[in-house]
């Protein structure tokens, strides 16, 4: 690093921040460098300097995953809202309203179908931007809908996970989504359609401890935080320094917990290839050969 990057950049950054519209540049959380948003569109929000995978929004994820960015969104079943009548410092119903206004999403999972590498596929994407991707009844129902659609279409289900864990505001209704989504995985298994999980940053708590760890193939984006307990909880419990790279994709790969790490650029090709290799029973003969 020259003095130019070390000393001039921060000053420049400060200037730019004040005078340039927000939507031109982003700051990479990985290396701290400024990146042109136009470049990020091209790189799928991967920092061109350090390779850091920035958080993807649901719409972006769907567009990147399907061939030519073409897909059909599935309408998801409605579930009883606010089963507990929960209120902390804020009403849960208000939190939901705010999340909907902010994200233009209904809930923390969206489902679509289309083609990946020429193969039919159902894709479910978790929205971390929606209440930290927490799992409540709506997500459980969304996952089950995606699984049923995949079974009907004899198409694989690909799930992109991103979650802070359970939706505390739904209490035990939230916890029960762990067995409920697991039933979805069992339906896929029994129908013989592949179930591929793509773990993205971050995936923790009840989501990891249910459908996110039950894939036929477990893929992770680079450097994603993946675990059951959050690092802070662990630190507070064991009062030890956490190992370098703890709970990151590479750590999980080293410990035998996932199959492979794929960058965002490689992902569609990897998914298309895996579908072609795994879904042979359900593919038209010509394609399978």
């Amino acid at each position: 690093m020259s003095w130019m990057t070390e000393y001039v950049r921060p000053k420049l950054r400060g200037l730019l921040k004040r005078e340039v519209p927000d939507n031109l540049w982003s700051n990479c959380a990985g290396c701290g460098q400024m990146v042109l948003n136009k470049d990020l569109e091209r790189t799928r929000k991967v920092c061109p300097h350090c390779g850091h995978h920035m958080r993807a929004l649901v719409g972006e994820r769907l567009a990147w995953t399907f061939d030519d960015g073409a897909f059909t969104r599935i309408e998801l079943p409605k579930v009883p809202v606010d089963p507990l009548g929960f209120r902390d410092q804020k009403r849960y119903t208000d939190r939901l309203k705010d999340a909907r206004a902010k994200t233009h999403l209904d809930e923390s999972m969206a489902v679509a179908h289309g083609k990946i590498g020429g193969h039919d596929a159902v894709v479910a994407v978790m929205a971390f931007e929606f209440m930290a991707g927490t799992m409540g009844a709506a997500l459980g129902e969304a996952f089950l809908t995606a699984a049923r659609l995949a079974v009907l279409q004899k198409a694989p289900l690909i799930v992109f996970t991103a979650s802070g864990g359970a939706r505390m505001q739904e209490g035990m209704v939230s916890l029960m989504q762990m067995p409920r989504t697991t039933i979805g995985v069992q339906m896929l298994r029994e129908a013989g359609v592949p179930y591929i999980v793509v773990l993205t940053n971050p995936t923790t708590g009840g989501v990891t401890a249910s459908f996110a760890m039950l894939g036929d193939v477990q893929i992770a984006e680079p450097d994603a935080l993946i675990g059951f307990a959050g690092p802070r909880v662990i630190q507070d419990t064991v009062r030890e320094t956490l190992p370098e790279g703890f709970q990151r994709s590479e750590y999980l790969l080293d410990h035998g917990m996932i199959d492979l790490i794929a960058s965002r650029g490689e992902l569609p090709e990897v998914l298309g290839r895996l579908i072609g290799l795994l879904n042979v029973r359900n593919l038209p003969v010509a394609q399978a050969a």
Partner: protein, 330 residues
């Protein structure tokens, strides 16, 4: 509200909770009277009777309207019967089976084969221990992946021989440690839920104390979910919930209320099947009575399940969970 909260030591080494103070005082008085009568030959029967009646009335008053936060304390009471107490009392010919066949034996999960009312069964429970030494042995009932993998192995054993499974849930949650994460805590819990849901034999789950989140649901995917009257079952501990949503762990009682973690709430929400009544003053006051009530409750559920074909059993278990939370409950 931690498990070791204000505990008064009184007669017969009984541990009282802070809200039981008035009862503790009365019972201490009764003990003193009894000791006096022994030494001086004074007839104190009337007075003891009067005080006992008063204590019972107070206990009834307190336990008739326990707040959720108080239930959390009762559920975690050190003198409540724990998983091993249920195994000792309810299971004959019990033969403990150890290990996950992969790397370790996790004593937070206890299990084995034995007979329940003559019927061979597989038993699996989370054991938190009852004094410092046993708590350390059992890691306070907080299992590592090895514990959940041991449970899976026992479910598979039950499936092979057509034995019904009884689980006793009592845990603050899965162990949040570096080692646990390293060896795949999340996968172990997910796979446990998967294996339980698929079991071709009856599964009866009894939440005997604290049903703590993922660590509890790992042994919780059964055909019947029973809960003791003062047990709790929650997605997160009220303390942790308060720290996150209220940014103040002192709000734990408020969180306990909001989470609707009591057996009564969960029955109303349609998430459990039955509440097993506890003796007056909680299972910790009369463990033998509590154990017997649980035996009867399980014995009442088992025959119907034993009559079901594996495929039907599995299908109904799925339907049960799929129906949860789908309809609004008022």
């Amino acid at each position: 509200m931690a498990s070791g909260a204000t505990v008064l030591m009184a007669n017969a080494m009984r541990q009282f909770l802070d809200f039981e103070k008035s009862v503790a005082e009365l019972e201490t008085k009764i003990d003193e009277l009894r000791q006096m009568s022994g030494s001086e030959g004074v007839n104190i029967a009337d007075e003891v009777g009067r005080l006992s009646e008063k204590a019972e009335k107070q206990l009834r008053g307190i336990y008739g309207k326990l707040t959720p936060a108080q239930k959390v304390q009762v559920a975690r009471h050190a003198q409540r019967p724990h998983a091993q107490d249920y195994i000792r009392a309810l299971i004959t010919e019990f033969t403990p089976l150890a290990g996950d066949r992969l790397s370790a034996e996790d004593k937070a999960v206890v299990g084995g084969v034995g007979r329940f009312e003559g019927q061979p069964v597989v038993v699996i429970g989370t054991e938190r221990g009852s004094d410092l030494e046993t708590r350390l042995v059992h890691n306070f009932g907080m299992a590592r992946p090895e514990g959940y993998r041991k449970a899976q192995r026992l479910v598979e054993l039950a499936a092979r021989f057509g034995l019904p499974i009884l689980t006793f849930v009592d845990t603050a949650g899965a162990w949040p440690g570096i080692d646990a994460e390293q060896r795949g805590q999340a996968e172990a819990i997910a796979r446990s839920i998967d294996v339980f849901l698929n079991a071709p034999v009856p599964v009866i789950v009894t939440v005997i104390g604290e049903g703590g989140s993922g660590g509890a649901v790992a042994l919780g995917a059964g055909d019947r979910i029973l809960m003791l009257e003062h047990a709790i079952y929650s997605v997160i501990s009220p303390e942790a919930c308060a720290s996150i949503l209220w940014r103040d762990p002192k709000q734990a009682p408020t969180a306990a209320e909001a989470l609707r973690l009591t057996a009564q709430d969960l029955l109303e929400l349609g998430l459990i099947d039955r509440i097993i009544p506890e003796p007056l003053g909680g299972a910790q006051r009369e463990p033998a009575k509590a154990l017997e009530t649980v035996r009867k409750a399980i014995a009442a559920e088992l025959p119907e399940l034993l009559g079901l074909e594996p495929a039907l059993l599995r299908a109904r278990r799925r339907e049960k969970f799929l129906a949860m939370g789908r309809e609004a409950v008022t």
